[in-house]
Amino acid sequence: MSDESHNYLNARKGLWSWLSTTDHKRIGIMYAIACGAFFLLGGILATFVRTELGEPGETILGQDQYNQVFTLHGVVMVFLVIIPAIPGILGNFVLPLQIGAKDVAFPRLNLASWYLFMAGAIMAVCGWLFVGRVDTGWTFYTPYSSGASNAVLWLTSAVFIAGFASIFTGLNFIVTVHKMRAPGMTWNRLPLFTWAIYATGIVQVLATPVIGITMVLLFLEKLLQIGIFDPALGGDPVLFQHFFWFYSHPAVYIMILPAMGIISDLMGTFSRQHVSGYTFIALSSVAIAFLGFLVWGHHMFVAGQSALSSIIFSMLTFLIGIPTGIKVFNWVATMYKGSVWLRTPMIYALMFLFLFTIGGLTGIMVGVLAVDVHLHDTYFVVAHFHYVMMGGALIGLIGGLHYWWPKMTGRMYNETAGVIAAILVFIGFNLTFFTQFFLGTKGMPRRYHDYSEFLEIYPEFAVLNLASTIGSYILGVGLVMILVYALYSLFRGPKATANPWGACTLEWTHTGPVPDEHNFHDTPLVTRGPYDYHLADDVFGKKTES
């Protein structure tokens, strides 16, 4: 094919051609490089945290250093990796291709979002180096944060700016999906990844302004002593938590919905089977996007809110939990009478089902009021949200990157290396975080620099913490291995074909091995659903099997 010589990667040359590009695919790649670097940073910080906790007492970090390190770990992972990564990398790269569009609706706004994200990100990291090390935790709770050093203002400003990147991205995708679908691409032919990114866009646009407003209020509180949060000035000490979680709980869906979209596409492609419950999965993503705004109070069951509020929030939480559970059943059912091909992306999809189910079930546990009183702010919660955020969102991202890697780079990675790394990640992850469930139910609080005091009651804390630390190293080795074979594949990997997985969505069926700068030579005409493998004679050749 002639695509070899002319594609989006080599259409223009030089650094400036990247920094000034409005091509959604190139912007996706730029997000990938940025988020990859921040993931590496966040991961290194995580190993510092785990190393400190590997043995009782102080080992490598003092109390204040430890508090600063887990704060930066949280800020980097949440605001600079998990929130932007899937929409920024895969949403940008894949979504316009999946719906048969030449680009997103607002290409310049798309580039602006990357610059804003980088501005916020660089501010956050440089603030740590040159302004001051914030130790408030990524949640910035007042009055601790309003009494902390002014460096906290620098960091919250960074979060404020990065937030606009998220709003721009979400807005762009909503408009793109509404207005730029190819002929025949009806709403019920949208791939589920696109549905998920669309639902995510709604949350990004509606929720992100709230974190911006909250950060501005914190700014005003701290600089001008207005008394919004400070009870001594007539403020409310819990108000900040309401504002914060009014964004940050929907943000959980900004993180997990896109991963659910990836899993849907992976289950379909690698089972070569109609995705079970397509309509349910598509619409429940949108329903979850809205319901997600009504559950923030479940972070505050012991914070002194009224019992009635807690009961309502608990009930709404379960309302979200049920469709999420049904999605898991649907993904499993997709394999039924399919043709399951266990390649690396599919291994990550199955790993997602394993880990995310644990994350979801432990979410039910902490959603139950009386049980949450005991488990709140312990390592049980730490383990729970890592199963959802990493075991769910990031494992979904890694699976998606393996899936779309040939399309993004034109190269294949080494399948054996991929499988070995996936096994390391799986073992390391579970060793790191499953042990923390035991620590948490026994009562080890989160954000603890030391647990020596517990050892006289529970001597097993030492071995559990050590196991968790060893697990984090195994996980780290697995992740670094992915980085190594990915870089190797960029230069030495075998050339990919246009549709190596036998997928039926437009990004595989209507583009060359590496897409053209303008995506499609001709506007695609869509005549079947995204998972109608039985109708895809264009992919598999004319043949009907009984």
Binding site: G277, V373, E545
Partner: protein
């Protein structure tokens, strides 16, 4: 204090703990059944329907209404059960019986103090067993959280607002109290103990610990040293914590972060207590709370200075 029987929960030692544990185990067992079901089905399908030829093109399978209905209805019923069970128990945990014995709790960076109706103030919580205890809690600075794993109780402690928690201990023993809301440098070292006594022993303890007028100022200072929480950051044996040790502090030359220095005389000690941010000793952070000028009387400050002078 050294017991363990389950890999999951600590041994229960309050009247409500057994009920919480029963709910916990119900959810745990149900979750394990679901999890094993999902994962074994997943593994079975992945094996049973594995790809046999690259040309496999299975017939499309569409949803079975009965199966779909079952996996909507069954989980919904189960979460409805745990929701109702959970909130009824939550109300029980939240409402103290009317005959509760009340203790006031003050949290501050990074210590607890417990004040009794007769004026006794203690850094550990001494209570009688088999009697409901209601804690009225507030914070002097940031948000803390009062957590006794063995009792399955927890509540945030706020500045400028009371929060309450109650429990009835079922055993004479010593239990750990931990702070579970992140509160800065020594968050992970903000412990207290709950020590449960028989009713008689508790009453004796209350009388024995009444403030004594015959104490010397330094002896009063020693009590204040724990009551006011100095102990959280200032050791007596030279150990460096968030603040300098009191050992040999009085009379020594202090080097400050701004390059100046001074001898630690009585006035220096007094100023450091009431206005800690004024001069920061080299190597330390400006983290000491500034409220002692308000919360301590001048006699108490004198007593504390006398105590520090003796170290």
């Amino acid at each position: 204090m050294n017991q363990q029987n389950s890999i999951w929960l600590p041994e229960a030692a309050s009247t409500i703990a057994g009920d919480v544990d029963a709910l916990f185990y119900f959810i745990l067992v149900t979750s394990v059944i679901f999890f094993v079901g999902v994962v074994s089905t997943m593994v079975f399908f992945a094996w049973r329907f594995r790809r046999r030829s690259p040309d496999d093109r299975p017939k499309p399978v569409y949803e079975n209404k009965l199966v779909e209905a079952s996996w909507i209805v069954i989980p919904s019923i189960l979460v409805a059960v745990v929701f109702v069970w959970g909130f009824r128990l939550f109300l029980e945990i939240g409402i103290a019986p009317p005959n509760s014995y009340e203790v006031n709790v003050t949290a501050r960076k990074w210590s607890w103090s417990f004040a009794y109706p007769n004026g006794v103030i203690s850094t550990d919580l001494h209570v009688p067993v088999n009697r409901p205890i209601k804690l009225r809690m507030s914070s002097e600075d940031v948000i803390h959280s009062f957590f006794v794993p063995a009792f399955r109780i927890k509540a945030d402690v706020l500045q400028g607002r009371y929060s309450y928690v109650w429990f009835e201990a079922t055993r004479q023993d010593t239990f750990l109290v931990a702070c579970t809301e992140y509160c800065g440098t020594s968050h992970s070292n903000m412990y207290a103990r709950v020590i449960t006594h028989s009713q008689d022993d508790f009453e004796n303890w209350l009388v024995e610990n009444l403030p004594d007028d015959s104490l010397t100022p330094a002896q009063r200072g020693e009590i204040l040293y724990t009551q006011q929480g100095c102990i959280g950051c200032h050791s007596l044996d030279g150990t460096v914590a968030a603040g300098p040790s009191f050992l040999g502090l009085a009379g020594s030359t202090r080097n400050f972060a701004d390059g100046t220095s001074a001898v630690a005389d009585d006035n220096y000690l007094r100023t450091s207590i009431v206005n800690p941010a004024l001069q920061i000793v080299e190597g330390y952070l400006n983290v000491m709370p500034g409220q002692y000028a308000v919360t301590m009387s001048s006699e108490e400050i004198d007593a504390l200075v006398a105590f520090i002078n003796e170290q």
